[in-house]
Amino acid sequence: MITEPVISLVNAVLFILLAPLAGGLIAGIDRKVTARMQGRVGPPVLQPFYDVGKLFEKENMVVTVTQHFYVLSYLVFMIVAGALFFSGGDMLLVIFAFTLSHIFLVLGAYASYSPYSHIGAERELIQIIAYEPMIIFTAVGMYMVTQSFNVSAIVNSGIPIILYLPGVFIGYLIVLTIKLRKSPFDLSTSHHAHQEIVKGVTTDFSGSNLGKIEIAHWYEYVFLLGVVYLFFGFSPVIAVAAIIIAYFLEILIDNTISRVKWQLTLRSAWLIAGTLGIVNLGVLYYLKGVIMP
């Protein structure tokens, strides 16, 4: 007889071990697909692993040693957030841990006192405040449908959440663009190629620190796509298909739309959260008795 805490623990450990592999692969496929969309051959699918491996081979170079602390904290709390999520923990707690980890990245960028990192940090913060309300609405919406904030309960509810929360789902996809650092919302830093603020938040990180940031991104991918899974938790097959389609859409948007200014990012994210999110939740709230199981 396997008890629930044991399953949670196993899930968390599996996440910690496997998420970087999955995340790295996703990043690799992302780059390959992007290249194909641009009519290029593109790097090998395993390229992200080569990159990170390379970064760990490089010299340890910093502006201040405190950078090490912030980057390590960023990675650790990203893992904590993800592990909590996959062990079926409380959605809100996961979101707060997730925010915490990002704040560490921002602080790391501030610590170096370089103009590029600084603007990157400010923009990263703007991104955080742009997506946070929508992510909270996502959790609240799931609660309204399943009566629980617990990820395990949400998955096991067997309710087709997507049918109740279509607006929230679209809103989530839009903030997902911000989170995946995809154009048009790749304000603070973008994954490949450089932009007008050099590399934004990551400008002053190099070597193993940059490698850790990259790994944290992999964990983040898996977590973010895990949330997409929740919407379709009633059927794993559909869920996986939805994740693939959603991610493909993100890549398509990335390659077809140019970067916007932070003002537009903030406004559009809030507008989406404020309309799609709230309206969807509001409808759900007042029709509780009518359409809810």
């Binding site: 010299e59 340890n60 170079m61 910093v62 502006v63 201040t64 040693v65 405190t66 090490h68 602390f69 390590l72 904290s73 650790v76 709390f77 904590v80 909590l84 923990g89 409380d90 809100l92 707690l93 707060f96 841990a97 925010t99 915490l100 704040i103 921002v106 602080l107 960028a109 501030y110 610590a111 170096s112 006192y113 370089s114 103009p115 590029y116 990192s117 600084h118 940090a121 400010e122 913060l125 703007i126 955080i128 405040i129 946070e132 309300p133 909270i136 609405f137 609240v140 609660y143 309204m144 904030f149 050099v198 400008t203 002053d204 809030w270 404020g274 709230i278 939740l281 509001g282 709230y285």
Partner: protein, 633 residues
Amino acid sequence: MNDLVFLIGFPVIVALLMLLVKDKIRNYIVIISAIALGIASLYLLIIYFNKNTVFFDIPFEPTSKIMFIIEILLAVYILYLGITFKKYFTVALILLQAGLLLFLEMGLIPGIEPVNNLFIDQLSIIMAMIIGIIGSLICVYALGYMETYHNRHADIKDRRKLFFFILFIFLSAMFGIVFSNNLIWVFFFWEITTICSFVLIGYSRTPEATNNAFLALSMNLLGGVAFIAALIYIAIMDPSGKLFGLDSLISSGYALAIVPAVLICFAGITKAALMPFSSWLVGAMVAPTPVSALLHSSTMVKAGVYIIVRFAPVLALTTEGFIIAMVGAVTFLLASGIAISQSNAKKVLAYSTIANLGLIVACAGVGTYNLMWVAILLIIFHAIAKSLLFLCVGTVENRIGSKNIEDMGGLIVRMPKIAMMMFIGMAGMFLAPFGMVISKWAAIEAFITAPFGLIFIAILAFGGSFTVFYWSKWMGKIISVMRHQEVVEDTVKKEKWAVLYILTGLVVGVCLAFPLISTYLIEPFIMNIYGVTTRLSQANFAIMIMMICLLLIMPFSMLFYRTGSKHVSPYMGGRTMESEMRFSGTFGTMRELSLSNYYMEKYFGEDKVFYIGTLLCWGLLLIAGIILAGVVL
């Protein structure tokens, strides 16, 4: 009972001593009495934490007479000041208030003899701990601060005797508010705190300080008028005077209690500086920093929310309660927004205080049992973290001579210990797994089951993200490393360090001990009122404690990295940067690098947002007034 009387009476004695003694002896007396007050409030905790509500019967008549005389004397004093400074609005208010008071005392009260004038329950204990421990710590801190303050501002007359006199009188009045069951007494202490705040804001007697002091006074007097109106209403409704007891009023049911409850909550809104009255608290920041820490963040403004929390059972699930909650929620959202646009550290703290008080009122106004739990939690966490931040800012201000956040760049190098403490204080305000986030989390979970909860959740989600923004950018400012700067913090006094260390310890300690606080103080209190209580799940407790421990361990990772890293200058687009943060610009000139944060004036400009807030909140209050008039008629 003696302990309550001691806590109210002892500060008065100390205050009188303050008027007499010289500088040196003052230091000893303040430190000793601070320790005494701290121990007394801890003693209170140990004795009463497992007894629910305990009432004490202090004779009403003689005490009330004395109070009445003091009130009239103070009214005359303010009348005099108001006329001297030509503040006729204040004069009108004080005349109105004095008239109502005379009517109450002469016409209605004679003949009544309320019993159970003092009481203590878990909420009083929590408030007493905040006043007794944080309050007295701030008094100790003020010793060193005021000395430096007068050294720096030679033009301001040294009135420290008066300063400490008022400070201790204030502590006594605060204890009075939280221990009084008799509303007439609550009102007396309430007015004392208003006047203490007035004197302390105007301490420097510059024109700005005087104006702001009168602004604060008139807004609080407005609340006072509402309070007195509530008392008169009670006296008319119930000539026996039994309803003057807080407990009997609250349990008397909606029909009787709602009018005084709303009136007193209005007084609470003015005291807690919610919109539309927030301007007085912002203006109050001209006062010396310990005053801001004590009166305007951790205790006096908390009296405003305290009284609203007390009346939460009456407000629960009523339209009036919903409107009051909306005032709180709107304040939370807009004040958080304004805080983004501010670069003056004390103003950021002020707006953050206003925002958090708004959130507490939003919880208390809706008033379901789990929201009540959140409200009390917020009171505790906010008091500790915010007073620490105020004192840190005060110390920094004394050292570097500026309250501007933009001047705090590289504080981690210049004042490493203070910067660390500020860091912890700020983390306490907005980062998981510290206090305020625990509360935010619980608030979301509680609002979701409350009527119209969705509105509050939306406000909380947006307001919460504003909060993240303004704290993070400030944090980023102080932790940016500029190596050329020298350490300037070794001149800070010993007792100041002691106070700061204790407060920092409390910020972390209270988060670790919060399951205990919840189990032994808050939950029984709520159980008592609602018959049900709330709690976070044990598993989540455990996870949070693990996160705190992880956070505490993380900094040690730096030991591991101390060696083995090559240091380079920040990337400047290829420009060489000297250690003094200067780089070669065009035409061979050397230019200084300076970075500034985003303030988003266009979106969160103070005037614009405050205007919106004032309109909204006056509108809400007006609706509440109309409903109330309907009930009365």
